[in-house]
């Protein structure tokens, strides 16, 4: 037991001194913001399974902060030939893009953006540079409206200790045909990395963004923390995709919030395939009338992997629409928890909100927990949720086998078909193929 | 097979009492029932909450969170809401020290 005088989560590595070190050479407003975030962090207890949001993930077992050190943040030279092979392979798969950004461990090592877009005011740059080059925008949006430190213990920790990240800005009316592609690599075992993503899409702009994180397996626990803020102004259309393919030994934690203005569309896809423990918090806030959010999720667990997705759909404005579909397959002794809530706030009349979680148990030792919640404070709404847990559909299996497929292959196809429904709802160049291939690899293992 | 770990001395846990301890990476409840030592995993089988907040009553351990009871010798669940046993570990006394093989 921790002594009462100790502050939960403060260690020899994670402390105010580390926060102050991060603030060196940063604008004053940012240093103050980090300091404030740290105060918030110290004031919040470490979540336990007694908290509804953490009921199925026991941090006492899942994360050992004491054993971690802070990851290095000095950028490596921008030389693709020196990139780890897996990172290069991941990038080679990427199709046409409007721009690229590469992060290795805690720092951005490469950024490019098509010139025609840059000349129209599109900004894609490391967050560490953006705090100087676009300080007005970053100061306005960074850890303020979307993921402020007050949000949670991890949000506070990230806001205090982030080392680098992505700043993407799309001016009013600018529409990007191809996605922005971000690739991250985590290489340093036993380290903790904190990164942030800030996307601001001005009114009537359009952008899609694909963020992929990969690594090899680790023999000591490695912690990757991410905070994601996506802001779609009136009439903007934004697609945010996160692909998590970390190696075993990783503890992945991502706190995401999307803010959709009037008539904005803000769709998300979270694909969780890697890491030993993966926790994603996603809060979609429908702030403007006519706003819309499709929220997709896909997870596939093997060995003793543990996935925890905690989502919320906040309908603040009337006439807004959201539709969530999270599907997962669980093999071996893996387990997944899904907790989702639709909140229709007072006055948010004519809301349409849906939420579906489907789980496939592929093994005797797998486990799925599902908590689809509704809190409805307006009467003129259409809301529903559904949740299922079951095994492979025998009929489909037998049909395929009667067509001459061996059982193993038939099973693979049924699982792919089950998860594929999610991907078919967000057709994005290269993403479907990439995820399908990753699932196939896992199915074969 | 896990290793034997020294968790306490016999004097640390008098008859009729229990102690919440660590045995390697596992958290355990060490119970002294009239001089016989028993070790249970410190985790109720009903919901994943610590048993050690509860109480040892004779040969039964009461989980205070929802009233489940377990036989400290076998780990067997004795009443609702628990339906599954809790893990029990081997215990040995060597020269006045209590060793547990957990995990």
């Amino acid at each position: 037991m921790a002594e009462s005088t100790e502050i939960e989560g403060v260690t020899e590595v994670f402390n105010r001194t580390a926060v102050e070190a991060r603030s060196a050479n940063e604008p004053e407003w940012l240093a103050a913001r980090r300091a404030h975030a740290w105060t918030v962090y110290e004031g919040l207890p470490m979540p336990t399974t007694r908290l509804e949001e953490w009921r199925y993930t026991d941090l006492r077992r899942a994360l050992d902060l004491e054993a971690l050190h802070l990851g290095s943040v000095d950028p490596l030279p921008d030389d693709p030939s020196s990139y780890p092979a897996l990172l290069r392979a991941t990038m080679d798969e990427d199709h046409e893009a409007a721009g690229h950004l590469v992060i290795i461990d805690g720092a951005v090592v490469h950024t490019d953006i098509r010139e025609d877009l840059a000349s129209r005011g599109v900004v894609l740059m490391p967050l560490r540079e953006a705090i100087h080059a676009h300080s007005d925008l970053v100061e306005q949006y960074l850890a303020t409206e979307a993921v402020p430190p007050e949000e949670s213990k991890f949000a506070a920790l990230n806001a205090a200790l982030w080392s680098d990240g992505i700043f993407l800005y799309v001016p009013r009316g600018v529409r990007l045909k191809n996605p922005i592609r971000v690739t991250r690599w985590v290489g340093e075992a036993g380290a903790a990395f904190f990164s942030r993503t800030l996307i601001v899409a001005e009114s009537t702009s359009q952008v899609s963004y694909v963020d992929e994180v990969v690594s090899d397996d680790f023999d000591t626990q490695t912690f990757a923390s991410s905070a994601v803020e996506v802001i779609a102004k009136d009439g903007a259309q934004v697609q945010y995709v996160a692909l998590q393919r970390l190696g075993r030994g990783a503890f992945y934690q991502s706190e995401q919030r999307t803010l959709a203005g009037r008539d904005a569309t803000l769709d998300t896809l979270n694909v969780s395939l890697g890491a030993s423990v993966s926790r994603v918090d996603l809060n979609a806030r429908l702030l403007g009338p006519g706003s819309n959010s499709d929220m997709l999720g896909l997870y596939f667990g093997a060995d003793d992997q543990h996935f925890d997705h905690n989502t919320s759909q906040d309908h603040v404005a009337p006439h807004s629409h959201s539709d969530l579909l999270y599907k997962g397959a669980l093999d071996d002794a893996s387990r997944a928890a899904f907790r989702g809530i639709i909140r229709v706030h007072k006055g948010a009349q004519q809301t349409d909100a849906y939420q579906t979680n489907r789980n496939l148990l592929l093994s005797e030792d797998a486990r799925a927990d599902s908590l689809p919640n509704l809190e409805i404070e307006a009467d003129d709404v259409k809301c529903s949720h559904g949740s299922t847990v079951g095994q492979l559909d025998d009929e489909q299996l037998f049909y395929l086998m009667s067509r001459g497929l061996p059982r193993e292959k038939a099973e693979r196809l049924v699982v792919l078909g089950f998860l594929g429904e999610v991907l078919s709802r967000l057709p994005l160049g290269g993403v479907v193929e990439k995820v399908t291939r990753a699932i196939e690899e896992k199915l074969r293992a | 097979m896990a290793d034997w770990v020294k968790v306490a001395t016999v004097e640390d846990c008098p008859p009729g009492e229990f102690r919440a301890l660590a045995a390697g990476r596992e958290r355990i409840v060490l119970c002294n029932v009239d001089g016989d030592f028993h070790a249970l995993q410190d985790r109720c089988s009903h919901e994943d909450l610590p048993l050690s907040n509860g109480d040892l009553e004779g040969t039964e351990f009461l989980c205070i969170h929802h009233g489940a009871r377990f036989d400290v010798c076998t780990g067997r669940a004795l009443c609702l809401p628990a339906l599954r046993p809790v893990s029990v570990y081997d215990v040995e006394i060597r020269d006045g020290d209590v060793y547990v093989r957990a995990g």
């Binding site: 509804e52 908590l371 509704l374 409805i376 949720h385 559904g386 095994q391 | 205070i64 009443c79 609702l80």
Partner: protein, 471 residues
């Protein structure tokens, strides 16, 4: 808009059971809960020493447990409890004939239609007034077949072994704060034993009435349905409406043995100043069936989630929960099914109506343990909202450890449809009639499982709730 007028009209809640009798008691404890109060209750009952120890231990557990922070608003409950009478004894002894029950108490139950129903449709009746059962009777033909239907106190006195084997094992004192409280101060309730193979053709009923202001009622019921038996138990509850708050916290433990079929129906119509915090749980063995029909219409706040622990192969659990929340009411209800054996099946259907500032919450659990091969469970929640100030929530917990199982949960929230209203009105109905019809259709599933007289009564009740002076 005419519809607004209807909705305005519907806000007029009428409670026809709010009459008050002259206060009369032979003993009552000081307000509030203390060790002294627990000892006095125990002494009043002249019970064995082990029960006093059980109570005192439960009191300690109660004191050690924090107030729940989920569910309804319990922020002022602690103050309310300090003012509550935990035990009020209305008469010296329980009677077997209505003629021996004191006049004013008898009148109360006559107004509630109990003796009449007993004649017509019931196998037996128990009537609790304040803290004690004042009347208990079972038709002779069932008594002859070995059926036991008695007050819980007489169960302890006359069947000590059977009682002690099960009491507090289905719902231990420490299960939750209010089961601990009930375990400390329980008084009244039924003890029921249905022998092997006996099938009761008509229901048993227990009726709970609170008359005293600032009263706390803590009935405790233990039911054992032995192998292959079949029975239906109905509980009803009402109280006068006071400006102060009252409190009811029951614990209902049921064992359904191999192949037995037991149905427990609640028509809860407490006045809207009542906290109603109840724990109900059934242990269901091989091929047995447990059905909970839970109708919650009254109370200020109800927190109640009847549960089925399906521990024998092929056991079946069925929970039907109907909630009506009017102005200022919060029904936090639902059900729990725990599958711990192969081929167990369950179904939860929850229907709620929220009107005015009413709030209905569904809270439920479906748990499938590893090894419950072939388990199937289906949960459906349907919430109807009548006004823009109404609220509904759905909080299901689905925990699945067994691959070879099939689990589904669905919930929908909707407004009383304009189309439905319009259609009915085009057939010549007034808006008010149309609204009442829609709502009646909504509670139909529970009504049709009740004896006819009760179904009619339930419908009348809903109509009263819905009725209002339009324009």
């Amino acid at each position: 808009m005419p519809q607004n007028e209807v909705i305005q009209g519907l806000d007029l809640d009428e409670y026809k059971y709010g009459f008050v009798d002259e206060e009369q008691h032979v003993f009552r404890t000081q307000p509030g809960l203390s060790e002294e109060v627990v000892r006095q209750i125990s002494a009043q009952k002249d019970e064995p020493e082990w029960m006093l120890e059980f109570r005192l231990k439960a009191l300690k557990i109660y004191e050690s447990k924090p107030m729940p922070e989920w569910g309804g608003d319990l922020s002022t409950l602690e103050e309310t409890l300090d003012e509550i009478y935990f035990y009020v004894r209305p008469q010296d002894q329980m009677e077997r004939s209505w003629d021996d029950v004191p006049e004013n108490i008898k009148n109360t139950f006559e107004k509630l239609g109990i003796p009449e129903a007993e004649q017509k449709v019931l196998a037996g009746v128990g009537a609790q007034y304040e803290s004690e059962m004042v009347y208990h009777s079972l038709k002779k033909e069932w008594e002859d077949k070995g059926v036991i239907f008695d007050s819980i106190e007489d169960g302890l006195k006359n069947h000590p072994e059977l009682f002690r084997k099960y009491f507090g094992t289905i719902i231990p004192s420490a299960d939750n704060k209010f089961s601990a409280m009930n375990s400390a101060v329980w008084s009244g309730g039924s003890f029921v034993y249905i022998p092997k193979g006996v099938e009761l053709e008509t229901p048993l009923q227990a009726y709970f009435r609170v008359n005293q202001e600032r009263m706390g009622q803590f009935e405790r019921t233990l039911i054992i349905a032995d192998e292959g038996s079949r029975a239906h138990y109905i509980e009803g509850c009402t109280a006068p409406t006071y400006s102060t708050e009252s409190f009811h916290s029951g614990v209902i433990e049921i064992v359904v043995n191999k192949g037995a079929h037991f149905r427990y129906t609640t028509i809860q119509n407490w006045s809207t100043n009542m906290y109603n915090l109840v724990t109900q749980r059934a242990l269901v063995h091989e091929r047995a069936t447990m059905e909970w029909l839970d109708g919650n219409l009254g109370s200020k706040l109800t927190m109640k989630y009847p549960s089925c622990y399906l521990v024998g192969e092929g056991a079946h659990g069925n929970i039907l929960s109907i909630a009506y929340s009017g102005d200022g009411q919060h029904q936090d209800t639902g059900g729990k099914v725990v599958h711990a054996a192969p081929h167990t099946t369950s179904s939860i259907v929850s229907k709620s109506i929220s009107k005015g500032t009413g709030r209905s919450s569904y809270r439920g659990l479906c748990k499938v343990y590893d090894g419950a091969v072939g388990a199937k469970s289906n949960v459906e929640c349907d919430a109807l909202l009548i006004n823009e100030t109404s609220r509904t929530d759905t909080y299901p917990y689905i925990e699945i450890e067994e691959k070879r199982s099939n689990i589904g949960h669905e919930a929908t929230v909707s407004k009383v449809g304009d189309e439905q209203l319009f259609y009915l009105m085009s057939r010549g109905m007034s808006e008010e009639e149309a609204m009442a019809l829609i709502v009646r259709g909504f509670i139909e599933p529970i009504a049709k499982l009740l004896p006819l007289e009760y179904a009619v009564e339930l419908n009348r009740l809903i109509e009263l709730e819905m009725e209002g002076s339009v324009g």
